[in-house]
Amino acid sequence: MRKYLIRRILIIIPVLFGVSIVIFALIHLAPGDPYSSMIDPNFTAEDRRNLLEAIGYYDPLPVKYVKWLGRAIQGDLGYSITYKEPVLSVILRNFKNTVVLSLTALALSVLMAVPIGVISATRKNTIFDYVVTVFSFIGISVPIFFLAMLLIKFLSFDLGLFPISGMQTIGSGYSGFMKFLDFVHHLMLPVIALALVQMAQLMRYTRSSMLEVIMQDYIRTARAKGLKERLVIYKHALRNALIPVVTVICISIGYLMSGAVLTETVFVWPGMGTLVYQSILNRDYPVVVSCALVMAFFILIANLIADILYAFIDPRIKYE
């Protein structure tokens, strides 16, 4: 078990290295030099050159990479041109909102999808199963922003059930619990949009994993013992079916964040997605690239957690 974990953690190192190279390449692909707007336009060309040389602008690429990596490890991801503050603090502010949004959506989708997937598998080829199947097909086929826009138009605008955008009612002056309720009210629609799509995938996955497990010999053994069907399904089958599902849930955090980019843009939710989109429009590349780096790091951690969880729920890993 310990060996397994150490190996998992060590495997991250080359991957992180690869990620940093990709990010560094992106920085260099970005058009223009990021400093031009930060330097006083009254400087002479000579001064400009000296200044750029001093900050290492003309260094060879490997040197630049090492310097950049050194700074990045210390949390210095550069300086945002639009926000006039360090990139990291901008990102952290928005990151929090994305995490709230995507984790809520994840929790909701897991709570819904796993039971529905299980029931659908145990009642294969019933009406319930067909409805679930078609619903999940639609869920994986709908562009998430289109779903978001439909929700805004019909639920928020036409029926007025939810606020249209943002995180809180501007100028309401709510405080304390009311403020929280207002926040939840704003949170609901983007969460529904994200969760519906996420649910569709998880449901399909749970269903097929469950169908596979139900065919196994040990399920027949459990029945032959005289176990009640409910226990056969929810103890013996589910425990095994969940092993791959848990991994998928962890890995799907990455997809959730991707989906969040589009959802946030539609709902003007001040998270990473909105930040990336705004920064692209503002040509604020340090922010754009750093967002990718932070997200990649986050996903890597999520995958690591998936591996660790996997080792905990599957006894076959522990002893290998």
Partner: protein, 326 residues
């Protein structure tokens, strides 16, 4: 008290397939006496495993179902029982062990947990007693490190040990009937004999009846008191084990015995059964075995013979033994 513990009458089990209903079991009649080991022998696809699953009412859902017939177990009609009633019989009065010890145990629960589960369902024991009983069972089936095994997971055990665990699990409630579906097919010869000897001695001690399903006549010779030979969903011969080896009547039984290589001298020509088992959707007219039978007469091609008792305790389904006294 009736002599027969299990009495199967005209059992017909069918499967729904894309090409319509298929009769996997086509009128099985079988009786198993108390304390007896009955062998059910036949080649793959003859329906021997489906017979056992029909008794347990564990046919693969939603395809398989019992179309007709009765299964009397200890005076209870199993086909009429409700699901909870059936559940209280499974693992308690009738238990089962399977062919593949590698996959028959749930990989995510400990051995102890899986055995205690049976006790949980059928017996009312205190927690400590349960564990004690569980370890006692593991010792009974000859597992040397019973206390350790209790806390181990199936993947830590070898095939032979897992099959012992399965036996411990199956016998923990002292069932009246144990159904063993090819219990040693997946094991090596030296392990096979360990398991067979274990089953024999436990059967004697606990006076359990065993329905032993196998394709291996050697295992039958080793274990069984009586034997029924199956071919394509029907029983073709039923008699004592000694009879089947000394004086097989049905040409199929004869062919099976002749196909065994162990006691044929080197260089002797093998007498093979020609052709192969037909598929269920393509059953021959008349006697199902007629196209492969070397003693086939005209009548065999048109009519299916009944399972007749041609000698006391010797039933056979063949036209050769119907009219004339052989």
């Amino acid at each position: 008290m009736p002599e027969a513990l299990l009495e199967i009458q005209d059992l017909v089990t069918s499967f729904k397939t894309t090409s319509g209903l298929q009769r996997v079991l086509d009128g099985i009649n079988l009786s198993l006496r108390r304390g007896e080991i009955l062998g059910l022998v036949g080649e793959s696809g003859c329906g021997k495993s489906i017979t056992s699953l029909s008794i347990m009412r564990l046919l693969p859902q939603p395809y398989g179902f019992i179309e007709n017939g009765k299964i009397l177990f200890n005076d209870k009609e199993l086909t009429d029982l409700s699901i909870p009633e059936m559940e209280s019989i499974r693992g308690n009065e009738i238990s089962m062990i399977f062919q593949e010890p590698m996959t028959a145990l749930n990989p995510v629960f400990t051995i102890g947990n899986q055995i205690e589960e049976v006790l949980d369902i059928h017996q009312d024991l205190k927690k400590r007693d349960k564990k004690e009983k569980c370890i006692e069972m593991l010792k009974l089936v000859g597992l040397p490190r019973a206390k350790d095994v209790y806390n181990e997971y199936p993947h830590q055990l070898s095939g032979g040990m897992r099959q012992r665990v399965m036996i411990a699990m199956a016998l923990s409630c002292e069932p009246r009937l144990l159904i063993a579906d090819e219990p040693t097919t997946a094991l090596d010869v030296t392990v096979q004999i360990q398991i067979l000897e274990l089953m024999k001695s436990l059967q004697k001690d606990m006076n359990t009846s065993i329905l032993l399903i196998t394709h291996d006549l050697g295992v039958i010779a080793e274990m069984c008191d009586r034997v029924a030979v199956m071919y394509l969903g029907k029983i073709v011969e039923e008699t004592t084990t000694v009879n089947i080896f000394d004086n097989p009547l049905h040409p199929y039984s004869q062919g099976l015995l002749n196909s065994r290589l162990g006691n044929i001298q080197k260089g002797e020509k093998l007498i093979c059964i020609p052709g192969m088992v037909p598929t269920l959707s393509d059953k021959p007219q008349g006697c199902f075995f007629s196209p492969r039978c070397s003693k086939c007469i005209d009548r065999c091609k048109t009519d299916m013979p009944e399972l007749n008792e041609v000698k006391p305790g010797h039933k056979v389904r063949c036209w050769l033994y119907v009219d004339e006294d052989y």
